[in-house]
């Protein structure tokens, strides 16, 4: 298959970027969009040009390293799935494909398609954990968890932390990401002792990182490779309200 690419090139965070045209001829339809970029890069290197920088690691949709938008959609048009799971046969032969980095103010561009998502790590550091010291854990089956709660918790926990939710959101909100972590832990009895502190801390960190609020456009849910439901955002809002009420009541 043959494609015409428009790829965002930007040499560093401060430089000005632009879309640059490349030809991508002879691409096997079974190749992923990342493998197509590998092929283009191999040629660019041999021609003495700088290859296109892009992030990837596991290339099977679980590590969350991919951070590109394809034809305007985070991870491209084949949902659900990360960019590494987007195969070229999903495009028309001869099509022009636009590839850009995730565009979120809180994810500064490092180079070309690579962005800095450490803001998401800082949200987790603000409380996205249960304090359980190694050595002091009680016997595992002493904490039964109702199966529906455990299953729902797992659905939230499946988040791969890629940041596509924020990239797709017109408000660049990271609420789906934050909601997934808050819900995962709030649904489990082990998460109860730190429930208030956690949601307050994480929401504050999210605001401090410059992410905006949710206005229910559901773009996040539409692009999420892990199919995290936007209903968890409602859960986050409930958790936050509950925490605020309890705090104002002095609990």
């Amino acid at each position: 298959m043959n494609f015409r690419l428009k790829v965002w090139r930007q040499s560093n965070a401060k430089a000005e970027g632009k879309l640059v045209d490349y030809d991508a001829p002879g691409i096997p339809p079974q190749a992923s969009v990342l493998e197509m970029l590998d092929i283009v890069n191999e040629r660019l290197v041999l021609e003495g040009e700088e290859p296109i920088a892009f992030d990837s690691d596991c290339r099977e949709g679980i590590c969350g390293t991919c951070s590109m938008s394809v034809n305007g959609e985070a991870h491209g048009p084949d949902h659900p799935g990360a960019a590494c799971e987007l195969y070229m046969r999903k495009f028309r032969d001869g099509e022009t494909i636009v590839i850009e980095p995730f565009r979120v103010k809180s994810f500064p561009i490092v180079k070309d398609l690579v962005v800095d998502r450490s803001a998401l790590d800082r949200i987790v550091q603000a409380g996205g954990f249960i304090s359980a010291r190694a050595g002091s854990a009680p016997e595992a089956n002493s904490i039964p968890v109702a199966k529906p709660d455990a299953d729902l918790s797992m659905e939230a926990a499946a988040c791969i932390g890629c940041g596509a939710c924020a990239a797709a959101c017109p408000n660049a909100s990271a609420m789906l990401f934050t909601a997934a972590k808050v819900s995962h832990l709030a649904l489990l009895p082990q998460g109860e002792p730190e429930r208030i502190k956690r949601v307050v801390g994480m929401v504050r960190a999210m605001d401090a990182e410059g992410f905006c609020n949710c206005t229910n456009t559901y773009e996040c849910e539409a692009v999420c490779p892990a199919e995290i439901s936007a209903s968890f955002i409602a859960k986050l809002n409930r958790e936050y309200s509950r925490a605020s009420l309890k705090r104002s009541a002095g609990e």
Binding site: P28, P29, Q30, A31, S32, E35, M36, D38, I39, E42, V45, L46, G48, E50, P51, A53, D55, D57, C58, R59, E60, I62, C63, G64, T65, G81, Y87, V110, K111, R117, D121, V124, Q125, A126, F129, I130, S131, A132, A134, G135, A137, P138, E139, A140, N141, I143, P144, V145, A146, K147, A150, S153, M154, A157, A158, G161, H184, L188, Q190, G191
Partner: protein, 643 residues
């Protein structure tokens, strides 16, 4: 330089060794802990758990990973589960049975004491993970669920959907985040370790490169912990993540750490086949598919290009059912992998490149109905369709074996310390627990055991004698190591040849896969040993690495890793040639039973092969072999039987 290898296995009966050892290990007083700086390289299950736990204990920890976040370490991709001897199913499990299954699964090439300790702490791991909020699968009564896995007759595997590795890693990452917030752990993402610094014979620091800015840093510490995973990517194609590499362990090897059993690499039988040079990695398909799928290839070479439904039953060779009537399609991993290779070598493989066999569900669909198959394997069929574009309900899947785990690694003693004092190695990066073959659901167990429950006891034992011994990062040893690192980077950038990095790495991978893959023989290994130096020479003459060293340069990162693979490959083949027996995943064609099973030679090879680097200046000086004899006090060595 290195005397008799001493594994420092504690005295006493097997089931008392770990307790006795803990009772007599030296401790570090809480007020002194903050005086120690511990360097942890890698943030997967082993490294992340170690960094978080040591931080919690009060040490100052610096943790490094090449990914942009510690949450992305490759442990995340593990699917199946984690073993633990909880005996929640009341089906006769025990610490001893988990120990025995693991040591037998490893074909009696691992240390009894290490494996027993692993089984002993396995239950604590589950307790710890549940307390952290890992959402393991549960039964309706709210208690934890288990499933069965290969190599065991009990149900002891804990799981979180098909994402167990992800959930365990996120648990570990959350513990790490808590310590980062508390200030005990300083995290350095997108930072690669390029050398270990040895001062007065002890590992006291590392040289790092910030992958974003290219900045080289000298980092001093009181001890160095390597948790940098396996080297499966030496084969170019594997189920590993793109970034997985041997650089940290190999460069430690070049500084004097012994590399043990490098030829022990595990090959998983059910992966989506390689379909062209464009391909960057291989994807695993759960082995459970073989419960209902039948494996076959055409009887005649001429039929391989025909559509599978055009080939009548009489022209199909259900080779596993034919060769292993009692196990059939459920034959063990190594047997199934080798059998697939054999039929493809005969020219009867299917799909692009002739490297694939059919896994056919037509009979199961006829017998059980499509709905049942969809319920059992629907998600796997979806993954398959996503990657190949083929609907496996209508046409048979195509599968082929792929590299996915490496049992070999740096040699460590019972304390998980290498032969270099102060250099600890944990998780897949060490060699210690899986012998010649790892059982399913045991990699996650080992990573977390090392990080949460072993290292936090054995590291203080070393540190207690090391108060105020941390050198300055300006010491001459650091300057020398830094100079070497910079010289290597400059050399890569200056070569400016005409070959792409991938083309040379692919060539190396193909050679290893053919000669040091599922089946090995003397002639093939000697051929590989002849070709690798030439390939290495080609690399240094013709590779092209664009850009410069003072920048975010992904080509440069990869070039350094490929350069190390090109040396490491020779060590791997030398080990495979020297180990003149078959055991577990190491199958020497010269040594097999009449049924084609691995034939061990316990009289001569019941030992660990630990290699000492002797120099590589273009040509490699043959490394020096040290043997650690394996003493089996409790188990009887038997021929593994799958009958």
């Amino acid at each position: 330089m290195i005397g008799e290898l001493n594994a420092h296995i504690p005295h006493g009966p097997l089931d008392r060794k770990w307790t006795n050892h803990k009772d007599h290990s030296r401790l570090v007083n809480p007020n002194n802990r903050r005086k120690f700086e511990i360097i942890v390289v890698g943030s997967g299950l082993a490294g992340g758990a170690a960094a978080a736990t040591l931080g919690e204990l009060g040490y100052r920890v610096k943790c490094f990973c090449y990914q942009d976040s510690p949450r992305r370490a490759h442990s995340i991709a593990a699917q199946g589960g984690i073993n633990a001897a909880k005996n929640y199913q009341n089906d006769g499990d025990s610490v001893y049975r988990l120990f025995y299954d693991t040591i037998k699964g490893g074909d009696f090439r691992s240390r009894e004491a290490n494996v027993y300790r692993l089984a002993e702490v396995s239950g604590n791991i589950i307790d710890q993970c549940v307390a952290q909020g890992v959402p393991f699968a549960r039964e309706y009564g709210g208690l934890l669920a288990n499933r069965s896995f290969g190599g065991a007759q009990v149900s002891r595997t804990f799981y979180a959907r098909g994402q167990t590795g992800q959930q365990l890693l996120l648990g570990c990452y959350s513990a790490l985040c808590r310590q980062i917030a508390a200030g005990t752990v300083q995290m350095f993402p997108q930072t690669e370790m390029l050398d270990v610094v040895i001062v007065d014979g002890h590992a006291k620091g590392i040289i790092t490169r910030d992958l974003r800015t290219g900045k080289i840093d000298n980092v001093a510490g009181d001890a160095v912990v390597l948790a940098t995973g396996g080297y499966g990517n030496v084969f170019y194609l594997s189920t590993n993540a793109r970034g997985c590499n041997v650089t940290a362990t190999y460069r430690a090897y070049k500084k004097g750490a012994l590399f043990a059993n490098p030829c022990f690499t595990q090959i998983h039988p059910t992966c989506i086949p390689h379909s062209g040079d464009y391909q960057s990695k291989l994807t695993l398909m759960s082995e459970s598919l073989r419960n209902d799928g039948r494996v076959w290839v055409p009887k005649r070479k001429e039929d391989t290009s025909k559509a599978p439904n055009q080939i009548p039953q009489s022209d199909r060779d259900y080779y596993l059912e034919r060769k292993y009537p009692s196990f059939g399609n459920l034959s063990p991993r190594d047997i199934s992998s080798r059998a697939a290779k054999e039929v493809c070598d005969e020219g009867r493989g299917v799909g692009p490149g002739g490297r694939g066999v059919y896994l056919d569900f037509a009979d199961a669909i006829k017998r059980l109905g499509e709905q049942t198959i969809r319920e059992r394997y629907g998600n796997l069929f979806e993954v398959y369709e996503k990657i190949t574009g083929e609907n496996a309900y209508n046409v048979p899947m195509r599968i082929y074996p792929a590299v996915h785990y490496t049992m070999g690694g740096l040699w460590v003693d019972y304390n998980l310390m290498s032969n270099i004092p102060g250099l600890f190695v944990i998780g897949e990066a060490n060699f210690s627990d899986h012998g010649a073959n790892r059982l399913g659901a045991s990699a996650l167990m080992q990573g977390l055991a090392d990080g949460y429950f072993v290292l936090p006891y054995t590291l203080p034992n070393y540190l207690a004698g090391q108060v105020n011994r941390r050198p300055s990062a300006d010491a001459p040893e650091f300057k020398d190591a830094e100079k070497e690192v910079r010289a290597k980077i400059n050399r890569l950038l200056k070569t400016n040849g005409k070959c792409s990095l991938d083309s040379i790495h692919r060539e190396l991978g193909t050679l290893l896969w053919d000669k040091c893959g599922m089946a090995r023989n003397k002639a093939g290994l000697e051929e590989a040993l002849g070709k690798i130096p030439a390939l290495r020479e080609k690399f240094w003459r013709e590779v092209r690495v664009p850009g410069d060293g003072e920048d975010f340069n992904q080509s440069l990162e990869r070039a350094g890793r490929v350069a190390d693979f090109l040396e490491f490959a020779e060590l791997m083949c030398a080990d495979a040639l020297t180990r003149d027996e078959s055991c577990g995943a190491h199958f020497r064609e010269e040594h097999q039973t009449s049924e084609g099973e691995a034939l061990r030679d316990d009289d001569n090879f019941a030992s660990v092969f630990a290699w000492e680097f002797q120099g590589c200046n273009g040509m490699m000086t043959p490394p020096k072999l040290h043997r650690e004899a394996l003493h089996f006090e409790t188990v009887h060595l038997t021929q593994r039987s799958y009958k």
